[in-house]
């Protein structure tokens, strides 16, 4: 067999590797959508594209359960479909020979997106020593989505590259491919760096872990080829890979139209963008307010709609995803509008996004106060003007504190970076007036913007009972409803009775839904305590990596 160069094999078939590609991108490029088998024998593939959902697992060189979306494609690797129950007879994984690292910076920043990088620059310029840890190989976060090895695709990516460069030039140490899995009082962070252990004991910490996407749950949403809008965007922006030739987009919010346009510009046939909310001209006041607050961004939004029209892509307003079915190697997406009319289209990939969930696990683990935001249906972290949480020396910026958008995250980062450094005696944090004023404006803009969309929690009451709610454990709405009548009180009780939320993603998709169902059943308001308890590991961590961390801490003790 002639092997293209460079390449890896997937179940024996050669897969060429484009520069900087992830395993998931390389497989998608070759038309592979199913990566793993679930315990019930169902196929799964990329869903979140950002390391959260744990549905893209593959076996790489004999090591099971590696996330294809977070693993760089390596020449000569042997990649296999992930079976549900991998054998324990496989190779013993030893921690890599490089010693673990123990870091004790003035400021540790978890997350290198818009907020984290801005915080790093501000704190470093004030004279503090700074370490930034990011899960992805190249930091930049979900807004700037950087790529390895490819030139910037547009201004947004260019701006991210500049911010990253500025952060490096400031002298901050920026470490990529770092999964922070442990956060303990102190604070003490324990992370995995490609099998190596990293232990961080900073004087102050700034959490900037961003958000992940809220999907539009409907029958068929776990089928390979169905993914979040952000996952499709990452495939395109970071790896120049289209999720499929024929694509449909659904949910609510400005990201959907933007990505539909990017994919269409990249050559995809986008059949429709279904938007749950009414058309923007039905929210004239909010539109006007948004225009006054940020004419530039509104112009960008209008430009997007024009772009869609140019490609002939219809925006279907007041329309939601109804179900997805398999159709001869492709997917049939059935949409339903407000009046109950159904339309369907056959596509290769479906993108969905209906709001965001903050990645607030570290903040909750460390005990920072949270309040429930009904409009967005998620928790917001309480902070003072300097972005400090209720826990001294713990700061939080950007979307991990509740949805706010990239410009606000950047401003919050600058404020937090300066304030945290000043708290340690590096510089002062007096001249933050301009940032605070812009931040206020951005927040008002966001408020007006989201009034034009519909990302509030939606009702599941008309959904068929066999709809899967918990992707990992394959728990259906019917099982949850049954569990609700038997196990009352708390979502933790429901979890133990039904296994909802017990899987690898630790309830990131089913948790918010289950929490609201329990709240409705018990007639109690949602708050921090009504969610699953925050527990380590924040993301699944290999036992070899825990072993490495234990050895590192033993030696340093």
């Amino acid at each position: 067999m002639q092997m293209p160069d460079p390449s890896f094999t997937f179940d024996g078939t050669p897969i060429p590797i484009k520069p900087g590609a992830s395993v998931a991108a390389a497989l998608t490029d070759q038309g592979h959508r199913a990566f793993r088998q679930s315990a019930n024998g169902n196929a799964r593939g990329i869903f979140c594209g950002m390391g959260v959902c744990q549905d893209c697992l593959v076996t790489i060189d004999g090591v099971p359960n590696r996330r294809a979306c977070m693993s760089a494609a390596r020449d000569g690797a042997k990649v296999e479909t992930q079976v549900a129950f991998p054998s324990l007879k496989g190779a013993v994984v030893a921690p890599p020979p490089e010693a673990a690292r123990i870091l004790e910076p003035d400021v540790a920043i978890i997350g290198g997106g818009a907020g984290g990088l801005a915080a790093a620059i501000a704190a470093r310029r004030a004279g503090a020593s700074v370490v930034v840890l990011d899960e992805r190989k190249v930091p930049g976060g979900q807004y700037y989505k950087q790529s390895t090895g490819l030139p910037p695709i547009d201004r947004q990516q260019q701006e991210g590259a500049e911010l990253f460069r500025e952060a490096l030039d400031s002298g901050a140490e920026i470490i990529g491919s770092v999964e922070v899995w442990g956060a303990f009082d102190g604070p003490l962070f324990i992370a995995d760096l490609e099998g190596r252990a990293l232990v961080v004991r900073p004087r102050t910490a700034i959490i900037a872990t961003g958000a992940y996407e809220r999907p539009t749950v409907a029958p068929g949403w776990t089928l390979p080829g169905v993914m979040t809008t952000g996952a499709a965007q990452t495939l395109w922006r970071s790896y120049r890979t289209l999720p499929g030739r024929r694509i449909a987009v659904c949910g609510s919010g400005p990201l959907n139209a933007q990505v539909a346009l990017e994919l269409a510009d990249g050559g995809a046939e986008v059949s429709v963008v279904a938007e749950a909310a009414a058309a923007p001209w039905h929210h004239p006041l909010a539109g006007l307010r948004a225009t006054l607050l940020d004419p530039g961004l509104v112009r960008k939004g209008l430009g997007m709609l024009q772009g869609l029209r140019r490609h002939g892509i219809p925006m279907a307003y007041n329309t939601r995803l109804h179900r997805i079915e398999e159709a001869d190697g492709a997917l049939r997406m059935v949409l339903r509008d407000q009046r109950g009319n159904e339309t369907s289209s056959i596509v290769d990939a479906i993108c969905m996004n209906i709001g965001f969930e903050p990645q607030n696990e570290i903040l909750r683990l460390l005990g920072a106060d949270m309040a429930y935001d009904k409009t967005f249906g998620h928790l917001r972290c309480s902070r003072d003007e300097g972005m400090q949480t209720s826990i001294p020396c713990l700061y939080a910026v950007g979307d991990c504190t509740g949805l706010g958008g990239a410009p606000a995250a950047r401003l919050e980062g600058e404020i937090a970076g300066k304030t945290a450094a000043a708290q340690l005696g590096c510089g002062d944090a007096y001249d933050l007036f301009a940032q605070k004023r812009s931040l206020k404006r951005h927040r008002l803009f966001q408020k007006a913007l989201w009034q034009m969309y519909d990302v509030a929690p939606y009702s599941l009451s008309n959904m068929p009972s066999e709809t899967i709610i918990c992707r990992c454990e394959e728990i259906t709405l019917g099982q949850i409803t049954e569990g609700l009548s038997a196990a009352t009180g708390h979502v933790g009780t429901l979890k133990r009775a039904t296994r909802v939320g017990m899987g690898r993603c630790q309830g990131r998709y089913c948790g918010p839904i289950s929490t609201r169902l329990v709240a409705a059943a018990t007639d109690k308001p949602v708050d921090d305590r009504s969610h699953f308890a925050p527990r380590v590991p924040i993301k699944p961590v290999s036992i070899a990596s825990i072993l490495a961390a234990q050895e590192a801490l033993n030696e340093s003790a």
Binding site: F85, G90, F184
Partner: protein, 373 residues
């Protein structure tokens, strides 16, 4: 008025209520719904003396040794319950206690002799015998004690099925925290945050909460809350049939029917008060999991997906069962070490007392009379 009020809805309270309701009694369970060991435990069915416990509480070893026949009986009781209300995913393939050097083997040999005297089915295995039944062990393991009576079950399945059985029997469940008890001439009363509950008789199955409740009735029961740590991995092929422990170090390791490996063994969690869930300590996840990886190296490539912390209860090592001295209507039901294993058996003995047949002769040493002033 109910016939029997059960305080505490863990494994002991639930099974007590079921057994009473089966005989026609009207039963109500009042439970604080906080920190029940039964919803956090690992489902190991322990019989052999746990080295962790022997090391931590050497003064209590006599109590545990005397209790050995009860552990054998307790596992049998679980078997009956599983037939009636299961499946609880109960497996009785035995438990291995591993040794890494001659000293540990000698310790196991002595322990085994004591256990055999009390009717426990035990045997010492060398490495080649181990290789036949547990080929996944690390190379440093030289032998083990096999206790055939041991096993494992899935407490989530057991709790769920028993709860359903209780509902079917018409047992009432109330969520409330009881503040104090009153023993009246013709009845008993519990005063809670939300209400008062009166019944003809009462069973105190409140684990770590038992001491505070009986204090006012003049008996000081030294029940203590002990927050413990657990870890669970993602699923893999089923290969580990035994319950695995170590002769000198704190660990229990086993594989559930889901394919997940559960790692525990009494590592500490951080106490945040009895009515707050305990917090996970970094030293426990690191130490406990690293030890597991040393004993079973082939798990190194799989991932831990969650840890949690739950509240265990300790007193003096032995169970506390029977009428409270001076208050015949108040029956205690607090299991000794490995309380989930003992739960159904303790419940059965407590039910005998409620029904007036008194504490079985061989269980007399468990009477709360030992704490009366």
């Amino acid at each position: 008025m109910h016939d029997v009020l059960v305080i505490g809805g863990g494994i002991v309270g639930q099974v007590t209520a079921i057994k009473l309701a089966e005989t026609g009694a009207r039963v109500v369970i009042v439970d604080a719904a906080q920190n029940s060991g039964s919803t956090a435990n690992a489902g190991s069915l322990h019989v052999q003396m746990q080295s962790r416990f022997m090391r931590l509480y050497p003064d209590q070893v006599r109590n545990i040794e005397a209790s050995l026949p009860f552990y054998v009986a307790a596992v049998q009781e679980w078997g009956l319950l599983d037939q009636k209300y299961g499946s609880f995913e109960l497996v009785r393939k035995g438990g291995l206690m591993l040794a890494e050097d001659e000293g540990q083997m000698a310790f196991l040999e002595k322990k085994m002799e004591r256990e055999a005297r009390h009717g426990v089915s035990v045997e010492l295995l060398d490495r080649s015998a181990l290789d036949r039944i547990a080929p996944w062990l690390g190379p440093q393991i030289i032998g083990a004690e096999l206790c055939r009576d041991e096993g494992k079950l899935n407490p989530l399945a057991a709790n769920k099925r028993l709860r359903a059985a209780a509902e079917t029997l018409g047992i009432e469940h109330r969520t409330d925290q009881i503040l104090r008890l009153e023993s009246l001439p013709d009845s008993v009363e519990a005063i809670g945050l939300q209400g008062r509950y009166r019944a003809d008789r009462m069973v105190v199955a409140a684990a770590w909460g038992a001491g505070a409740l009986t204090h006012d009735l003049g008996v000081t029961i030294p029940s203590r809350a002990e927050p413990l740590h657990m870890n669970i991995t993602e699923a893999c092929e089923t290969q580990i049939n035994h319950l695995v422990q170590h002769a000198e170090r704190s660990i229990t390791l086993k594989q559930f029917a889901t394919g997940q490996i559960v790692i525990g063994g009494g590592w500490a969690a951080r106490d945040r008060g009895r009515y707050e869930i305990p917090a996970v300590d970094h030293a426990s996840i690191l130490g406990n999991v690293a030890l597991a990886a040393q004993l079973v190296p082939s798990i190194s490539g799989i991932r831990v997906i969650r840890t949690w912390a739950g509240m265990n209860t300790t007193a003096d090592g032995a169970s506390i069962i029977g009428p409270l001295p001076g208050h015949a209507r108040v029956v205690m039901a607090v299991p000794g070490d490995a309380g989930y294993t003992l739960g159904p058996l303790v419940a059965g003995l407590a039910v005998d007392c409620v029904q007036g047949s008194g504490l079985a002769a061989e269980a007399l040493s468990f009477s709360p009379a030992r704490f009366a002033a």
